[in-house]
Amino acid sequence: MADAAAGPLLRVEDLAVHFPLGGGLLGGRKRIIHAVDGVDLELRKGECLGLVGESGCGKSSLALSIVGLQAPTRGRILLDGKDVNGPGLGRLDRARFVQMVFQDPYSSLNPRQTVQRTLEAPLRLHGMTDRAEREARIAEILRHVGLRPEQAQRYPHEFSGGQRQRVGIARALILKPRIIVLDEPVSALDVSIRAQIINLLLELKDTLDLSYIMISHDLGVVEHMSDRVAVMYLGRIVETGGWHRIFTAPRHPYTRALIAAIPDPFGATRGAKITGDLPNPLEPPSGCHFHPRCPEMRDVCRQPVVPPLDEIDPGHRVRCVRTGELAVERTVP
């Protein structure tokens, strides 16, 4: 499982991603969306970190920054101790370190390329000149994801959604990266085949020694797959800890609300639900972003000071000034 002795494989320090919207030109105040607002994160070897949150929480922007598809406005990303913007790590090096599996299997593959070409081209790009070696690598990866090597000659439209997602996973694995970012890996798939992909991903993590950052809005999947979980709200991490802690005894009111919101098939309710809509990202509430909707809100929460992410137990951090006062509720008896 997680290798705690070595340094973290990935470290994110004070990451911010700001999107400026127009308006600054004619003297009006320049409007900025703080999609990611100062995030610190660590991923250790062999672990699966689940990233949860609703729309506007910034998990997608965070994931894109880690992978290199979105330039951060502030902060550092360190892969195995090396800064991604520093001299030691070029674009190609980064590609061999961290890869991504996309959400939609129907638009994540080039319709005009065979699977073979999709998998072979990056190998060529990264200097694998020997054709036999490339063929061997492709065959190996295809077997890992449960496809037959002959199927590589087909085009994406000849595959089902689940198979396409397997191809997407194969593409992410072809350069043998250390970290894979999974962006809603099963949300776009039929319910009856999700288990196949979930099992596959867990298996690959063990056999190929991978580490995952998984984004999902499906808390059931997150609970099943993650070792640690980070909960995001409006650009900040509000709670992070081991999966068991987070799901059985969450401390932040938002985390509790998220879990309470999942419909329980056996009819019981899971706890207090929160009301109101997600706030406008252009005008985030001051102080604790969550306070307008928080059932435990007091005056102290409104103070224009960003509550710090405090470690209340080893490995368990919560961003709430009232954490000490709030009763520990268990969601699973």
Partner: protein, 273 residues
Amino acid sequence: MKVRTNLLIGGTLFALVVAAGVLAPWLAHTDPIMDANLMNAELPPDHEFWFGTDGQGRDIYSRVLHGARISLTVGIVSQLINSVIGVCLGLSAGYWGGWWDDVVNGLTNLMLAVPSLVFALAIMAILSPGLTSLLIALGLTNWSYTCRLSRASTLSLKSLGYVQAAKMLGYGDVRIMATQILPNILGPIIVIGTLGMGGAVLAEASLSFLGLGIRPPSPSWGSMLSDARDQITTAPWISIFPGLAIFTTVLGLNLLGDGLRDILDPQSRARRA
């Protein structure tokens, strides 16, 4: 089915014109420029001169066949130039965005504001008339639509998973544009290309008619029409046959373009299902 009819008729017509042009030296009866016999001037169509003769006594049939070569050259080459310029500008503008996109957009707006024929006229006035100048003039003035189309297609493809994946695998921008985006936007570009060829043929005819395109005695259909201006009532066949040739070519290209669009456009394909 409607699509196949379009393709069939359009394709046939276009193929006929191409055949006429390619095989002109063998199919023609006379030399289109040199064989002029004033004794034979303005003869109506008969067994010897299938399309009749013009004011200079030249065989119109042979001239129309040779004219096909000119029209097709103009059509194909100038449209090729247009497409290349349009795709390069549009794709890169859509992909990179930013100031480059603003520049290309401004340029495109400029080109669209001025009627392309007027623009071509201006260029022809500067360069000396002739085939090469015509190709340059037409090639440089008709790329706006292709550019807009390429840009729009690129914008919608840019955010798709496989383009992002290519970036993540370490591909450079140019490689991504060439291997991931270009193949997926070609369909509509080809359709616009076919229709554009028809437009170029018409433009050539118009410019030559005005005396600014291909100069007589070259057997361009446009200049043939121009020469026949005075004899429209007395010897109508001199205008009719070149006119028919233009009509056939442009109709063929338009039908072909329509047919191709229906085949290459996945949405209309789904509707037919």
